[in-house]
Subunit: 187 residues, 10 copies
């Protein structure tokens, strides 16, 4: 069964965020839109480019009222050092979440048991803690944050406009559809 339209399971861990160690839990995700971005491990190859891509788009996520969370199975200690030593990761102003207990990676179905690491998984979660989109890649294939932004906008649009749906490749400003009996079999 898909995680789509299920509520995030309870979790509790520690992140490095803006020079501090802060607690992060399922309660932290309530009240605003969240984007969880799982990746394999600190200090590796693709991961810094993805953190940097998130950092480059962070202003727009903030404009949409959404927080970004980077998650790996490393400790928050490693995340502090990563932030200090990696030029790319150093740009991150959002929480770098440690998951050494594997609680989060298991809850989102992105744990690789034989490696103890996460797959590249992105999840958009609404302010009620309900998962609206999921995207998971083999670790050699990285993501594009622009597409995540597009999906977030569509998710926010249909949340605000019940009774409308966003058609293929919709982006903000484009037309939406209002399902009705008349349209059945006519599009």
């Amino acid at each position: 069964m898909s995680l789509i339209n299920t509520t995030v399971q309870p979790f509790s861990t520690t992140a490095f965020h803006n020079g501090k160690f802060v607690p992060v839990s399922d309660a932290s995700l309530r009240g605003e839109w969240s984007v969880l971005v799982f990746m394999p491990a600190a200090f590796t190859f693709n991961c810094p480019t993805e953190v940097e891509d998130a950092a480059d788009n962070y202003a727009e996520f903030q404009k949409l009222g959404a927080e970004v969370y980077i998650v790996t199975t490393d400790t928050h200690f490693s995340h502090k050092v990563w932030h200090e030593t990696s030029p790319a990761v150093g740009k991150a102003k959002f929480p770098l979440v440690g998951d050494p207990t594997h609680q989060l990676t298991n809850a989102f179905g992105v744990h690789i048991p034989e490696e103890g690491l996460a797959l590249r998984g992105t999840f958009i979660i609404n302010p009620e803690g309900v998962i609206k989109t999921a995207e998971i890649h083999d670790n050699a294939i990285a993501r594009d944050m622009k597409e995540t932004l597009r999906k977030l906008k569509a998710a926010q649009f249909v949340a605000k406009n019940p009774g409308q749906v966003c058609p293929a490749k919709w982006n903000d400003g484009a037309k939406t559809l209002t399902p009705s009996l008349d349209l059945v079999g006519k599009i």
Copy 2:
């Protein structure tokens, strides 16, 4: 557990394709790259726009040696009529796969039991039948085939160039990374 890097389960069903009813099975997916595009139901609202988006990009999928499969839980009879009556769906030159037994939607974890319909799920599968990317949306949020094309190219690149990985927002022509001890902690 994620479906990423698992092999497609055995299945057997019937599709409407280029004016004929043809059998489709897991064996059909072997030997070339495949893109499975699940959607809720024929004759509805967003689905035709997504079929049309796929049709508009089909030439490029074919250039990459990949087949596109649209899947709903309708019968192949409904798919024939949909193809005949919908201007958008009528553009489709790829198979419209019927899944009235719910075998495929269950195997890819996109079945909604209380509706008997599929979630919007896209899966890129390599010629060995191994799933490399997954993307699943709440049904009100449609997809963008350009992003699926980008992921397919990245998946094909790393398949052809073992030892390299595609960084964030990579598209064909862009630089890739070759993981090495020296890069650890340096990016």
Copy 3:
């Protein structure tokens, strides 16, 4: 065990009826006689002839205070298109019930798991929701609505005249039997 004299199980789905999508449930069957007519799939071969046969006899069913329900495992979306595109089905003034979850076909024991479709099954249900007759065919063998009318009249007669039974090939106007000790071993 037979379904005869058992109560219809709870169900809830959507039908296309007189140009609208309407909810249908076990509660809809209470208060009047119902005839459930399962068939394999919209847009196929025998099914429209059977829908037409029901339409041709519908006036008489209505005179008897009975509603007719056509059921397939298609969606109500498909049923709308079927009604619009098939000359035969277009005559139907009764609900075309969608059963994409297979709940109804399973509840009446007419599901074919390897096809995801229904067998040809007809069930007469009294206003208390109790099944009084059942008739199920291999899908290549169609039914005759005149015979269903005859059974419905017999079911209604014995419901109204407790203590009487309808003998073989009884039709309205013919004699009935009143079981009594004296008749035992004498007919």
Copy 4:
């Protein structure tokens, strides 16, 4: 699950037939078409009228190469006396099958445990022992053998003409349908 298209389970019992006690088993049903006609009990009210209806149509069943079997949970001893004492039953030239062990009534799902009697059930079985139609009534509602003859002819027609189906209210001499891609959505 329906019994349609399943093979008759093994059974073995005794019938009264043409003045003799004869064994009847699932093997007896192989090689010709069979019609099993279950009814509640010897010496009762409706049952003799149904036996008589079968007797009146027996010549036509024989012309179609089909045997008729009346089944109750009485013994074959009771069936002999029934045949001798009932003017209606006395016309029967086909086997009156005793089922005091309830083996047959259970196998065809027509047993009423709290009464130890059968429901009115009619089953058409092909020469391979496969059940093609089923019809079960509340015991107050009798059957019409003319309709059973119509179904038998349809079953025999599609058995002899694979690729054709009998449309609604088909009777011998009427047109049949040959399913084809072209007809999908066109009838």
Copy 5:
């Protein structure tokens, strides 16, 4: 374990008795002595001779305040016809109990599953519903009602005279024994 000194299990069925159909249950057995006489089937060979033997001795059973019940797995319909057609059975003024559900024959351990019939079993039951004697034969060996009368008298004697026992071949009028310490090892 033997049924001796256990209470009759609850049952409920219908008998033919003095030209009427009457209900018979475990409650019917309370308040007077009962003799249950199981036999295989109506219309057979030995059974009428045993019914007749019971009828010939019925006056004496009645003098002892005991009712006789003949039980077969036939219906009460068959029992009516049996009573009308058999000169021997026609003498019966006691209930002919139908047991088509096999409830009674199973409760008294005299059911033959592979035949659906009862063994020849006779049970004497006291007014509290407790079984005092049991006698079961292979069906080819009939009983003698005189011996059942002798047992009934002995059972009634020891019920009325607690502290006494009836010695071998005791019949009414003969001496009984009063167990006492002195008799131990002395008879």
Copy 6:
């Protein structure tokens, strides 16, 4: 289920017989007719009268080629003393079987667990070790060996004359019945 027509279970014990301790087992019962006569306990009240009744009829049992076995849950030691001290039991020329392990009383379903003693049970067993009649009494009600002789003769008659049955109260010399179709419903 009744023990009638089942084979005696294996057992092995010791009897006092004609001044000796002899082994008795299920094998001892093969090859001739046997009558097992269970009773509660040596040295008690009714039991000696029943042993004496058996002794008085023993000549006739022997003429019929049948052995009589008295069984109690006492030891064979007690049986020897019983034979020596009881005038009635002293007449016994047949085995007095000890069953201190309760194996036999349990196998014949006549054990009273709360007393460790047997009920009064008589079983006629054919030379193949198959039980043909059973008779069990509350311990206050004794048996009559003349009736056991009558049953034994009937059992032997039908064993020697397959196809015939002994009617009610049959005794040697009386008429028997030969079941046939013609007799059904005529006696």
Copy 7:
């Protein structure tokens, strides 16, 4: 686990004692010291010598306020006859307990299932019903009541003198030991 220092399990049976049949239960053992003497069977070889040995020492047991109980799996009827016929057993003034249900022999772990008899077991039980000594022999090896008397005296001595223990081969009048820290490792 040993029975030593466990409480006697509930039991209820009948004994022959001083010309009467008396009930004996676990309650009978409360309030005075008891000696239970199990042996195989009445009327046998060693057993009378052991009963006689108990009788010869009974005066001394009574002086010590202890009752002796002989137990076999025979009935109390057999015990009465044994007492009357055996010169040795006739000396017994203590209860001869019957255990035909095997309840006592099982509770004291001295039952031989394949014989239905008891082993030679002697148990000394205090007035609270707690077992203080146990002695069990193969049945060919008899006991000596003088040793049982010695143990009984020791058991009574330590019960009356808490803090003292009876050393090896202690008999009444001999020295006892008072355990103390000083004696540890010094004797």
Copy 8:
């Protein structure tokens, strides 16, 4: 169930014997008679008196070809020190067996779980490893080796003279009994 006439279970441990540490196992017990003497603990109060009693009678045990084994749950190290420091135990020329694993005390059912110590238990075992007598006391009540010698002689006598049994209080030289039919009920 009693241990009488069961074979000693496999065990393996270490004893202090004649100034050496020697292995002792169930195999050690085969080929000669053995007497196992369990007692609670080294360095305590009664135990040395029992070891001394065994030592005082050891010459006679040896004459009878029997070995004596003292067993406690202490280690063989403690047994060496016990032998050196206790004047009484120092007389022991037989093995002092350590059972710190509790294997032996559990196998002979003399373990006290809440203390980790053994009860006072004596077992006579024949050269085939079969237990012939058992004697278990509350720990405050010591044993008398003279009685163990008497039992050993009786056990050896009946082993050498099959068909004879030793009567009550038998000692060497006294008369034995030969069971025979004639003696039944006569002693």
Copy 9:
């Protein structure tokens, strides 16, 4: 799972301490620091040297408010004799705890089932009964009490100074560390 930071399980046993037998239980460990020192067996080789080492350091343990407990699976009786006979053990002023039930050795995971003895295990337990350090050796390798003292001091230091940790080879007087965000990745 490790025992570290778990609470000592309930236990209850007896020790030899300063010439007396005293009870020791988990309650005894509450309120002061405890050091449990398991060793294989009294009277052996390495164990006295370890007891002596503990005795030589006992003054310092007492200064730290900690009690030392020596534990073996021997009885407290053996411990008294050990204390009296061993010059090394005789120095012990702390409890020598007997564990013949193996309760303590099992609770601390140091039991060797095939020997019934303990491994060499040392456990430091805080006044709340929580285990803070564990050390277990193969029995051929002895411990050094100086190291146990060092660990005890560290455990006491961090208990008194929450927020500080003792670095490698810390001993009293040396510097400790206060964890803080600034130190992460800097030491």
Copy 10:
């Protein structure tokens, strides 16, 4: 049960060692002595001091033919960065083993599930892969490598000199003990 004298379970992971990523498995531990040193997490407080203590004593471990392995649940990527950024850890010439799957920390019983980190545990393992000593601390209490060296020497001594044991606080050059009967109870 303790891990002492059990064999290391199979494992397979990656370490950072002398500037390279190298595989480490249970096979790596065979053939030389190994010291496994678990600690909570890279980049933390006490851990670097313990790594440095190990580095300072590494020459002596190498002289003894033993390898040292530092283990945390971090990745080998983190270990590389730790080695580069920590002055203390930078001294390490032995493998820094990553255990992100928690396989090793679980196998050695030092995993803290609620933190995903290891306890401070040190294990000495012989060349056959058998664990000879274990030492586990609460994470606030660090270890002293000098004591680990002492234990390693003792373990190597008794491995090379079977029959000898190392007494308390033994260090190389000191006397050892040879267990013998004479020493029992004498030290």
